[in-house]
Symmetry: C2
């Protein structure tokens, strides 16, 4: 019997609601598929920050490093600035564990009305660079409080960083329809994006079977709504990948269904799995959060651990619940988080 | 009779096709409304660049400074890198003439099937900051050609710059439904966007009648497709405004219909009017480019010049042509650029 140690960080708001469901469903899958999970629950969240001034303990990274993976709910709360909660937990984890790939698949799920009536299919994987780019600590503010005040924000793109995400995306594209779209803005952002284009083109030259098309982010955003079925695999920088993946999820019907895998493909460090949605304080604790993003992320975690059959069982279960018309309010249904979870459990095989 | 001197820069590709139509329609409007335009046609484009190494003459800015406005088609050609063509003409014009507001209205036009069947209305104005932010010349590359190579791209946000775009947007919002959405990413981009949020909030405090809501760019992109009717006026940074305005145009059915006014509100310098679409080399010269973005931009120019009745005549004419089912192929019709122009001319009043 394989046993995995997973650090679970429910976090804030509906992060707690959906992590609770996800852990129980994973345990149920584990029992059916003859493996087990030891959950190490971490109360690293905004409450901890308010008490200690830190989102995680000083040795938080060392603690997680001994596990097989990290499962994260969501982080953020209205009374603490988001840059503090996120840069105190989520982003350092992505970076310290070199989770340089953020994989964000999205499909039109059975029974789910997408935002575009008539759209019959959608199957897009966003491969987002996850540790560099537009999100950086370099920069700051000058002349705070004066009329002359300005802020600088440095984006950092490395050859190594672009090369490795391009390789990963090329392989994903090759395993799908062989078409890769690279999101860029090389006409407006003149130092980093032309470099991105160059390195993507050089890397993709090693994959003659993959056709790469570079598309400006503004035109690409429009294409997501105008011709979503022309898109299959997208490789994008940290910021562009963030925007595109939410946009694709919006087309598919709800941010609540979107999963995110923060991967260290070499497995030198634990990878981290999370729903894309935020902590949604307005609906936290009301029992109506959509657990699909969390369940799909859990399935990606099982896949990453090598428990492919278990991953499929979980995915099929929530798809079948949806196909049977069971859905939370954000998808137009009347199910609660808990009744949706019950429906999933009944359908596990 | 008022007379205006307008510099017309058709540029490249379909920029030439649509500028040709726009100038003729503006002249026809002028005749009907008793004003006149002296067009100074400038052949500043990629061909000029290939001959001279410059997109415009050394004293290009001085030449334009003497006019009442600038009308631009589109710039860009496959065999010259976009960062060169754009940073050689479009972006310096926006900056030298301190056109710090980029106004991008979008509506669901009569007869036009948006990308979202069932969507009944859409009326959004994106107020984009146009001279600072993520588009900057600061930055560069280190270790070119080595494995260690990296690129830095600095985003620059000033208190002055954010304040003035926020004021402008607040006034637009006040003249509409009183609701303003501010696009941000203050949880991921930690130096510039929290500053953006602060200055927007401070500025908007002077407009108690305007309700401001800050929305993360990823969630906002999703909201554009999920709940487009909840959006009216959006204020955004240079990059975010670029992405959002194309996205909204995508929802409304075509990038070919989107106009853009680059404004120096104080009128110390000429303002510039252009369709949002690019030079589309693939369809250039084929006579099928959609001239609506160009005509709408021309109407915004007339409005800016104070020729409000003329502006309305032009807008009503292309709307009425559309309502009568006349449309170019990108909108699902069979009209050519020219036959659409004919239909517009017949409807001018
Ligand atoms: C061509 C490009 C630099 C430009 C921009 O991003 O500003 C264009 O996309 C626009 O929106 O006017
Ligand atoms: C919370 C935020 C910093 C984060 C990001 O932008 O990476 C989130 O939007 C995501 O997509 O995981």
């Amino acid at each position: 019997t394989n046993k995995y140690v997973i650090d679970s960080i429910p976090g804030d708001g509906i992060g707690v609601d959906v992590t609770d469901v996800a852990m129980r469903m994973v345990d149920a899958v584990a029992e059916l598929h003859d493996f087990s999970i030891e959950w190490r629950i971490r109360d690293w969240n905004s409450d901890l920050y308010k008490k200690t001034g830190r989102m995680m303990p000083v040795d938080g990274i060392e603690q997680l490093a001994t596990g097989d993976g990290i499962y994260l709910g969501a982080v953020g709360t209205p009374d603490v600035p988001d840059d503090i909660t996120l840069w105190g937990l989520l982003i350092p984890l992505r970076r310290k564990f070199d989770q340089y790939i953020n994989l964000r698949p999205m499909r039109l799920l059975p029974g789910v009305k997408g935002s575009m009536p008539g759209l019959e299919s959608l199957d897009v994987v966003v491969v987002r660079e996850n540790v560099e780019g537009e999100y950086s600590t370099i920069g700051g503010r000058f002349g705070t409080g004066t009329p002359e005040e300005f802020a600088l924000q440095e984006a950092v793109f490395t050859r190594k960083g672009i090369t490795r995400v391009a390789h990963y995306a090329a392989k994903i594209a090759a395993s799908r329809n062989g078409k890769l779209v690279s999101a860029t803005k090389s006409n407006g952002i003149i130092h980093s994006m032309p470099f991105w284009d160059e390195v993507v083109a050089e890397t993709l030259a090693e994959y003659p079977a993959v056709e790469v098309e570079k598309v400006l982010i503004d035109a690409l955003a429009a294409r997501v709504v105008m011709k979503p079925t022309t898109l299959s695999t997208i490789v994008a920088s940290n910021l562009f990948g963030d925007i595109l993946s939410d946009l694709v999820a919006g087309v598919a019907g709800s941010i609540g269904i979107a999963p995110s895998a923060n991967l260290n493909p070499e497995r030198r460090f634990p990878s981290m799995f999370e729903p894309v949605h935020g902590s949604a304080p307005d609906i936290a604790g009301k029992g109506i959060a959509n657990p699909i993003g969390a369940l799909w992320a859990a399935a990606m975690m099982l896949e990453h651990l090598g428990e492919t059959a278990g991953a499929q069982s979980l995915t099929k279960a929530f798809e079948s619940a949806l196909a049977d018309g069971i859905a939370t309010p954000d998808l137009g249904g009347t199910a609660t988080t808990e009744s949706f979870a019950d429906a999933v459990r009944e359908r596990l095989s």
